[in-house]
Amino acid sequence: MLNSKQFWTLNVLGLAALVLVIANMVAFSHNRDAQVDVNTRGAYIQQAAQLQPLYQQIIKALADLSVRNNDPQLREVLAKQGISVSTTPPPAAQPPAPAAQPKK
């Protein structure tokens, strides 16, 4: 037979095991949810990376067409994105400086 001390030692160990098992179940569930969140966000980031060239192409097409056809509506669409398109032509290239005369 077990004496009192042995009995309570085994009881405490059994209780600790029970608590640990329940805590592990909860932690496992939380970790699984966290893993799902991380995977979902990773997929979202991956999709956004794939959409970035498309976004840039649309913006470039809008800018080209708005400048070419002087379309204020397209310019407004771009302005909503914080993109301003100016129709002022770039300054003409400076004429090349005359070549230095070789000294005689």
Partner: protein, 140 residues
């Protein structure tokens, strides 16, 4: 070899002087042996303690591993924040531009129509009435 029974009791070591006197002495000895208490030092505590320790240590090890996994996931989640914010911004901007362009095209803007047609050639159709896609939860 022939199996001759020993003349002395092997368990007690006592000599058996004759067969007639041995029988009552032997039964008396067996009765005394049955009355002896069980040998001490082999109680159930030690095996039960070992079993209990094994039952405690295994989930304790699992708990440590699960805690490490949780910390790693939290680190990955935190490291995704910048990329995630950029992705949300990009998706929002793309949705807005596409929706505005499609609206302009439906209103008769030729340039917007051209863009929508080019996108349609690539298999991209814009539904201006579609609700904006909900990004995954930002906080846990």
């Amino acid at each position: 070899m022939s199996s001759v029974p020993p003349t002395s009791d092997a368990r007690t070591g006592a000599a058996a002087p004759s067969m007639q006197r041995q029988a009552p002495h032997h039964s008396h000895e067996r009765t005394e042996r049955e009355r002896e208490p069980a040998p001490t030092g082999h109680g159930p505590f030690v095996p039960l303690l070992l079993l209990a320790l094994a039952v405690v240590l295994w989930p304790a090890y699992q708990a440590v591993q699960l805690n490490k996994e949780r910390q790693n996931l939290a680190t990955v989640f935190a490291n995704q924040k910048t990329q995630y914010d950029t992705a949300v911004k990009l998706r929002t901007s793309l949705d807005t531009v596409a929706r505005d362009t499609a609206t302009l095209a439906s209103n008769g803007n030729a340039d917007a129509k051209l863009i929508v047609q080019e996108l349609a050639k690539r298999g991209i159709t814009i539904n201006p009435n579609a609700p904006a896609a909900e990004p995954p939860t930002a906080d846990r």
